[in-house]
């Protein structure tokens, strides 16, 4: 191969790569990967497993699920169409700093440490891992009402949840004894 031809070929390849890269720039967000805090997805409990642990709405109330991701599930509590509170369960594996505030907690609901954040949010740390939160919306909820809502989650079942590779086995997971210590690596597919 002659020298000019090699140069031309090289330039064509380089230009092609550059052009291809430039075309992909708008799709950067759609590349796979990029989990929260770079924690692998398998170590985080899927939000689907949280859904059945939310409190059952009483008469006059509606519970509408509004967001479900890895390690997070959120529902809106409405009374007569009016938004009353946001209810959420999250896996603190991707946010270890969220557990720190419970260290100095003096109060408890159903035996789990309780923390108030501002005037409208109550948070509960269940099993040293799952954060259950009630955030009053609109006119707001008083302390008592928020704590009653926290209590009506299925906290015992939540404390037993462990990450699993599929959501189906998470649902059928047999009862495991005491919750694992905070910060220990979650047991995978034991």
């Amino acid at each position: 191969m002659t020298r000019p031809l090699r140069w031309i070929l090289g330039l064509v390849v380089a230009a092609g790569l550059l052009l291809g890269g430039a075309l992909l720039i708008p799709f950067g967000d759609w590349l796979p990967g990029g989990t929260v805090a770079n924690v692998p997805n398998q170590e985080v409990v899927n939000g689907t497993a949280f859904n059945r642990l939310f409190p059952a709405p009483v008469a006059g109330e509606q519970l509408l699920f509004s967001q479900e991701k890895r390690g997070f599930s959120e529902a809106r509590l409405r009374r007569g169409g009016e938004l009353v509170a946001l209810l959420a369960i999250s896996d603190t594996t991707t946010a270890p700093e969220a557990r720190e505030k419970f260290g100095s907690s003096q109060n408890a609901v159903a035996g789990w440490p309780l923390v108030e954040q501002g005037s409208q949010a109550s948070a509960l740390l269940v099993g040293g891992r799952f954060q259950v939160k009630v955030i009053g919306q609109g006119d707001g909820l008083d302390l008592q009402a928020r704590h009653e809502l926290l209590e009506s989650f299925d906290l015992t079942a939540l404390a037993r949840l462990r990450p699993s590779l599929s959501t189906v086995s998470a649902r059928k997971a047999p009862a495991t004894p005491a919750p694992a210590a905070i910060g220990s690596a979650p047991a995978l597919a034991s």
Binding site: P26, F27, G28, D29, W30, L31, P32, G33, G34, T35, V36, A37, N41, G47, T48, N51, R52, L64, F65, S66, Q67, E68, K69, R70, F72, S73, E74, A75, R76, L86, A88, S90, T92, T94, A95, A98, Q117, G118, S119, Q120, A121, Q131, K133, I135, G136, Q137, G140
Partner: protein
């Protein structure tokens, strides 16, 4: 790495054509619309408290979530941007065609570009389709059943009422007339691959729509629109939305318009970003809700 969702919220315009058009339109929607362009204010609104340390923690968590590609918040915004660019391009061409129709030499341009009702219908279906895709990127598939998912979608649409009203009024009623929603299905039925490929946004979105061919994409869009039509029909009936009412509402903030309604639609398409503007606000709210629950 691009800007995070909250950075983009902070950079939204406080007063421009887009904001004025939305302000005008919001007079038709009970509950109105506030133009939220301040992330800290949004966070305080969600948590119901103004503690600066708490707000800063929530903001840091929201930025972390929005940088994680797998969480989809950034993806939803890139969808809105693609649709917005396409809307500008198509609207600009239509405005140009309208202007040049009066000039003999440039008449050819008008003959080439007038987008028929079909093209307008495909454009609307693309917007509705990307709305559905963006919803699943932002909210996942909430609930355990299809009924839960449908309820979540309806609830979301109810919260983003002005956003939905803008979609219905600016992209359906103005260009297609008051019977737009009833006509839409037959218009889409007449649409073919050529119409789809004429839209700039389609080329960018094609890879994201389920299905491997143009025809498969077209049928996905039709099914998406069918789902949406039922809800939108109720919405239009409930609020009594009409093309004439839309023009009057927007005239209250933008000033009088002397022209045809489809020209007004082309003008709005070319010079406003209502879809991306309200999109950033809707995504930011869901993101802040999640960050608030996780800190």
């Amino acid at each position: 790495m691009g800007r995070t969702v909250l950075e983009r919220l902070d950079r939204l315009p406080r007063r421009d054509l887009t904001v004025l058009a939305l302000k005008g339109l919001s007079t038709l929607v009970p509950g109105g619309w506030t133009n939220i362009t301040n992330a800290d204010q949004l966070i305080q609104d969600v948590i119901g408290d103004t503690d600066p340390a708490l707000v800063a923690r929530i903001r840091a968590r929201a930025d972390q979530l929005s940088r994680a590609r797998a969480e989809g918040y950034g993806r939803a915004l890139s969808l809105y941007d693609a649709v917005n660019r396409s809307q500008h391009a198509a609207g600009g061409l239509r405005v140009l065609a309208n202007l040049s129709a009066g000039l003999p030499l440039l008449k050819r341009l008008a003959d080439v570009t007038p987008p028929g009702d079909t093209l307008q219908a495909v454009d609307l279906s693309l917007k509705v389709g990307s709305e559905l895709l963006a919803f699943t990127q932002v909210n996942g598939l909430p609930g355990d059943s299809f009924g839960d998912f449908g309820a979540a979608l309806a609830d979301y649409a109810g919260e983003a009422r002005v956003r939905m009203a803008a979609l219905i009024c600016f992209d359906a009623l103005l260009p297609l007339g008051d019977q737009a929603l009833q006509k839409l299905d037959s218009l889409l039925g007449a649409a073919n691959r050529k119409d789809l490929n004429r839209l700039p946004a389609y080329r960018q979105m094609a890879g994201l729509i389920p299905g491997r061919s143009d025809d498969a994409h077209l049928s996905f869009l039709r099914r998406g629109v069918d789902q949406w039509l039922g809800w939108a029909g109720g919405f239009v009936g409930e609020l009594g939305l009409t093309a004439q009412g839309t023009v009057q509402a927007v005239e209250s903030t933008l000033g009088p318009w002397q022209g045809r309604m489809d020209q007004f639609a082309a003008f709005l398409d070319a010079f406003t970003d209502t879809y991306a503007h309200t999109g950033v606000q809707a995504v930011a709210r869901r993101l802040v809700e999640r960050a608030t629950a996780e800190v």
